[in-house]
Amino acid sequence: MDTRDATIINQLQGGFPITERPYAEVAKTLAITEKELIERLENLLAEGLLSRFGPLYHAERLGGGLTLAALHVPDEGFDRVAEQVNHFPEVAHNYQREHHLNMWFVLATETAERIDEVLTEIEQKTGCRVYNVPKIEEFFVGLRFEL
């Protein structure tokens, strides 16, 4: 990654145009060619420095459900419970964290009603109490990376 890649990452976290030749438009502002911009994005994705390039959808505004939930999982059963939780396709992310509540996962469902159903199924399957912490209010979401 060079300084031009860093500029691309810094400047292109939003605002990508919805026009016939969007890459050409952005390339112009970066003083590079359309071809170079596309190649650099391909490389950044291939190297895993970008996890995605495209629209970021707002699940709840599309009628879907989204929540964050936590479990306390005893050490000896941890990997088995991780497998049980990950098995649900609605589980989008799952992290082990250093805390009494040591497993934290994000659930995204196609309908809002489905959230409670899946959480109940997870409780039944794992035998662990689910601590559901859906957002009450969002103050900020975004990444303001400055490389």
Partner: protein, 161 residues
């Protein structure tokens, strides 16, 4: 608030939630895939962007790969009548990527304000958390930072299909 989206919008979401085609005319490619007109795809995506159904379009950085390895979920117990102001102040800090009001589950979980803090390592995150604590002052009745030790799953949100 839900935005009114129809089945054609959902088909567009299904083929773009993983990313845009990296070709000179990405929207025309999407349109061809779905048997639609490129202008129709652009109009629909613009409408979803304007309504907030699309938060933004662009690069989604992988902060681990970029060297931001110290991601800490900082959680705070703030009086309910102070949460709005606290959340707006903390959410505006440039090292906070997500900031939410979430419910408590006392006594196990007394925290109602979540702020994801990013830094190059744990020490940098700890320093930023001290900065938040200083801002909250007496409104901070207790806090913790939960560092992740392992990613167990990360598929990204599949909203449709």
């Amino acid at each position: 608030m839900n935005t009114v989206i129809d089945t054609t919008d959902r088909r567009i979401i299904a083929v773009t939630q993983g990313g845009l085609p990296l070709t000179p005319r990405p929207y025309a490619i999407i349109a061809a895939q779905l048997g639609l007109d490129a202008n129709d795809v652009m109009t629909r995506m613009q409408r979803m962007l304007d309504s907030g159904a699309i938060r933004r379009i662009g690069a989604v950085p992988n902060h681990y790969a970029l060297g931001f390895k110290g991601n800490g979920m900082s959680v705070w117990d703030v009086p309910d009548d102070a949460i709005k102001e606290a959340g707006q102040t903390i959410g505006a800090l440039d090292f906070v990527s997500h900031c939410y009001h979430r419910p408590r589950h006392p006594p196990t979980w007394p925290y109602n304000l979540f702020a994801m803090v990013h830094g190059r390592d744990r020490a940098e995150v700890d320093e930023k958390v001290r900065h938040i604590a200083a801002i909250l002052g007496a409104k901070n009745r207790g806090h913790e930072v939960l560092f992740s030790t392992r990613i167990l799953k990360k598929t990204g949100l599949r909203i449709v299909g």
